[in-house]
């Protein structure tokens, strides 16, 4: 691979990390002011805030890669140009994070599947020889450790709570399980510029088993897994998320905010 190609892979990888954290932040933020109880409203908003912070770090790095490359644009890339002016087909987030909040069960389960994956990912990434990515991963790991603990506790509470909460968790598993395969299946750019998540698939699954056991929830059998988000083929939800997210920048181009 030429240097040029490696930079392109690195860029795709950074954008993938940035998009994934941004979209989940956007989804979680929908709860702000509407949570089931004040303490949890604060908790989910806090996670949203952590994730947008991580997204900013990854976008800033991606912008740096673009601005240093041979075919740099006339207007330098920024964290905002990358988040606000790319289209549905350019976004590289995993499908899981763009799925709707629905109820607290689905939001919690999405967070648990994701944080479980992100925790393993950042542990690997902090050893990366790309020092910038390693530094972001290392810095974020403390936050992610908390997200994982918080969401695991809620999976257990809801799974082993009332008949209704248990039923809602089963429904959430039914909705979301099909999007978990993609988290652990590497896109080309992940293999070449980052960490291959299939390497930690066993640890991911064993954490799910441990938490689901305690929550008295069944781990689904092998089913067909949806994928495509990492390479820009999304579910129909993403277009609406971006419409809202990008509205001001699209309506008032070339303005400072």
């Amino acid at each position: 691979m030429t240097d040029q190609e490696l930079i392109k892979r690195k860029l795709d990888y950074s954008l993938h990390l940035a998009d994934t954290t941004l979209i989940l932040s956007q989804r979680n933020a929908e709860w702000c002011g509407h949570g089931p109880v004040l303490e949890q409203d604060i908790a989910i908003t806090n996670i949203s805030l952590d994730l947008v912070g991580q997204a900013r770090n990854f976008y800033q790095y991606a912008a740096e890669l673009i601005n240093q490359s041979n075919d740099k644009p006339i207007h330098p890339a920024t964290e905002d140009s990358l988040a606000y002016l790319r289209t549905e087909r350019e976004f590289k987030n995993c499908l899981l994070v763009e799925q709707p909040n629905e109820d607290w069960a689905q939001t919690i389960l999405r967070q648990f599947f994701f944080s479980n994956y992100q925790f393993l990912l950042y542990q690997e990434l902090q050893k990366s020889n790309d020092r910038q990515l390693a530094a972001i991963a290392e810095k974020s790991l403390k936050e992610v450790t908390y997200h994982l603990r918080w969401s695991s506790e809620w999976v257990i509470r809801l799974g082993d709570g009332t008949a209704e909460s248990h039923q809602r968790m089963l429904q959430a598993i039914d909705e979301l399980w099909r999007y978990t395969g993609e988290l652990l299946n590497a896109a080309e750019y992940e293999k070449e510029a980052g960490t291959d998540p299939s390497l930690f698939q066993p640890q991911w699954l064993s954490k799910v088993k441990e938490v689901f056991d305690e929550a008295t929830l069944p781990v689904p059998e092998k089913t067909f897994m949806q994928s495509g988000g990492k390479t820009g083929t999304h579910t129909e939800h993403l277009g609406f998320i971006l419409t809202e997210l990008q509205y001001i920048q699209r309506a008032y181009p070339d303005s400072q905010w």
Binding site: A29, D80, S165
Partner: protein
């Protein structure tokens, strides 16, 4: 000791600037007034999350999004301290929340106005938080200890929010023609409702005298409102914008700004529930609470199971 002596002792403490603490004797009316005021304040923080939360998903940059998220989260935190302060007077949080949802308890009318553009987020920070701070700085010296201490923490964060709001407007005021227009429009819409936040005129205010005597309040509505006008009339010069009041003018004798008359009819209409968003705000809060019921039940059921299991283990 006869009640009269207790009352004398209580008033002596107040006159000597000794804080009243939860376990101290206090007149029933003092307790009730504080519960009413603190819970109303807590509700305002919680309902106030809605108009601003409205713009989190559409914030124009990642930095603004992060700042706004943190701000709305701070408000939830303020709500939490304030509910706790009110609970020290013997009112459970759930009961306060039920009173909000039934319409029995009030919250600040300002949050019944809509946030229509991004500039409204700046105007709320600058004008609404600015007006709130006037009131809250006074409340850091209020006579009920837990309330005063909650206010000290809250004030620090609020003044930060006010600066952030002003900064949003400052950027807009130096931006494109469309941004400048957006900025002026937001100021036009929020100015009068912000002035209304200080409540009725002193001559019309029913709760004021007793609250001043008990040092729950330490400045009158009109005094606070005047301080606010004086502050904003100066700050707006930096923005190069105008306040929507033809009568606003520096009075050299009074050493204060004169300003026009508030539309008191609008004020009372919004208090009575006829503001542009009263219905939506309450509905949003009720819906969040109702949708959360199964979650709270599940958490309680799980906590009971766990406690039982631990008991079994110990036995």
């Amino acid at each position: 000791m006869p009640v009269q002596d207790f009352e004398q002792l209580f008033q002596d403490k107040i006159d000597n600037e000794i804080k009243i603490e939860p376990k101290d004797w206090m007149p029933e009316a003092y307790r009730k007034t504080n519960i009413r005021q603190i819970s109303q304040h807590a509700h305002s923080e919680i309902v106030g999350m809605l108009p601003e939360g409205n713009w989190i998903s559409r914030a124009p940059s990642l930095k603004r999004k992060a700042i706004l998220l943190a701000k709305v989260q701070d408000e939830a935190g303020h709500g939490l301290y304030l509910y706790s302060a009110a609970e020290t007077l013997g009112m459970p949080r759930e009961e306060m929340i039920n009173d909000l949802h039934s319409g029995k308890a009030k919250y600040s009318s300002i949050f019944n106005y809509p946030t229509l553009t991004w500039a409204d987020i700046g105007a709320i920070g600058w004008l609404v938080d600015g007006a709130a701070i006037m009131n809250q700085v006074m409340l850091t010296r209020t006579s009920y200890g837990p309330y005063a201490r909650a206010m000290v923490r809250i004030c620090k964060e609020e003044s930060f929010h006010q600066r952030q709001g002003f900064e949003i407007l400052l950027v807009l005021s130096r931006g494109t023609t469309a941004q400048k227009a957006m900025c002026q429009d937001a100021i036009n819409r929020w100015w009068w409702p912000a002035l209304m936040m200080f409540g009725p005129k002193d001559s019309e205010s029913t709760n004021s005298d007793q609250s001043m005597k008990w040092k729950i309040k330490r400045k009158t509505n009109d005094e606070l409102r005047q301080n606010f006008v004086d502050m904003i009339a100066e700050q707006i010069k930096t923005l190069g914008m105008k306040l929507p009041d033809d009568q606003l003018k520096w009075n050299t004798e009074r050493k204060h700004y004169d300003f026009g008359e508030i539309d008191w009819d609008e004020f009372w209409q919004v208090v009575k529930g006829n503001g542009p968003c009263n219905k939506q705000r309450l509905e949003a809060r009720r819906k969040a609470w109702e949708n959360g019921e199964w979650v709270r039940e599940a958490a309680a059921a799980y906590a009971r199971k766990r406690a039982d299991r631990q008991k079994d283990k110990a036995a």
